[in-house]
Amino acid sequence: MNQSADTPIVSLHNVSKSFGRVFALEGINLDFYPGQIVSLVGDNGAGKSTLTKIISGTEDPDSGGEIIIDNEKVGKWSAARARNRGIETVHQNRALSEQQSIYANVFLGREKTNRFGFVSRKAEIAETEALMRKIGYTSKVWNPTSTVNKLSGGERQGVAISRAILFESRLVMLDEPTTAMALSEAAEVIEFIRDLKKAGKSVIFISHNPWDAHMVADRFVILERGKVVYDAPKGDMSADDFIALLHKFAKKDQL
């Protein structure tokens, strides 16, 4: 299933994850290549978020599974390590500290500091401002020093997305980024994913909107009850064919 001669940024070998008796993921084998946009779809509870958490280092896989980054087996994988290797995530719950300022959230875990660890506020605020202007989230009501709890759902998502692109990322995972967004905001996100592709980055995009998922994808991965049930390049599959495919799996699921 090699779509590209390049080495994968991330490979999962036989990755499983159970929570007590619930198997969220079972024997997952997937490779994610540079410059490729993968739409990851599946019902609620299929294991999509769990998959992003394992790649982003926020959940450990069960023993036996392996995470391979740039053809290197990683030992102890962690969120800090994942970010250092250029893997950024917009988590489904957004992972924002709502009582802190926008700029503090954007730089959370990656603060710009002097050599004693004191934050360079001016630099962080200026960069946050430029970034938000760039991706089209500007406002008269709030600025980078406003706390996140002042923002609408869509604006919060904007902060989480800004954070994911601020740093030199190679793989950006977006877990249902357009939920709670107005239509125009969702359109911005789609535009933004296309920009990421133009910039040569890899994307794992999770969405419940099949048109969005189809529109941006180079490749589809369908998860069902913790297993990969479909993994193929988009080729010339039309949106209608893609939706029919999703329906087929949904029906099978009911039998």
Partner: protein, 330 residues
Amino acid sequence: MSTEVAKTKKIKELIPEVYRPVFGAAIFFVLMMVAFIVSAPEVFLTVGIYTAIFLSLPLFTIVGLSLVYITAAGEIDLSFPSIIAISALAFTWTLQQTGMNFGLAIPASLLTGCACGWVNGLLVTRLGLSSLITTLGMNFALVGLTNILNNGVVRGLTDINDSKIRAILVGSWGPMPAQMFWSTGIAIILGLIFHRHRFGIHVKVAGDNPEAGRAMGVNIERTKTLVFILIGLCSSLTGIFAVLLNSTFFPTMGDGYLLPTLAAVFVGGTPVTGGKGTIGGLVIGAATVVFIQTGVVAAGLDGYWTSFGFGLVIVFSLIGHRRFSGKLTR
């Protein structure tokens, strides 16, 4: 009433949101001082009362500063009074054993305090125990341990009365007790760290949304453990100052710190709910609390009025903070 609300709103808008808790605490402090001066001018218009207050205020401030950190981190520490006592014992014992070697006694005390805090931190972060119950238990354990180790001795340290170090730490610099300068310095450092350092951000995130911190690669467990260690460090400093001031160690040294210091945190405008805090507010809150403690007695009122005063101050200041700072103190 409605014009009053409008007025509060206007004043509110003049002050940036982050400074509102500090302003609230300051306004409250000024009102309290006016009340004291009006009701007992013969006491509160003389220098004596202020000198008395400045002797003990720094001790509450130093340990209170670290409690702002733990509150913002979404945890609590009730063991600091016993850490004050046991690290004061470590200080005194080392002085006695080494013929008044401060160079050994101060590190011994600081290490003792940090070790206690580290144990608290490990129990809370590694075993996932509730910090309320863990530190309550730790308080009992350390009170017991202090008494066991001290073995019923009252340790007078008359030899240190004219030592240089004592003069530097708790002597008088002009009319001001030296410890006021020390606590001010510590407040500035801990204030800068809390409000401007990476560590301060991580502390607040740990109390607000630890999952978000973890997802961004922040080591929340280490952050919380360091805060418990900071409490041990500050408690030890307070213990050292207390021993030097009294030239004596007694095992009940930490008693009387628990409730006033916690009150100082909340009167200062740090919300109990975590994720936020104010070091400036704590400095004012500690002054408020110590003024009540000393002022009530100095005004010739029965000591029971101190408790009553605390009660009033806590309730009214929380109401004030809520109106003034909105959600911040909820």
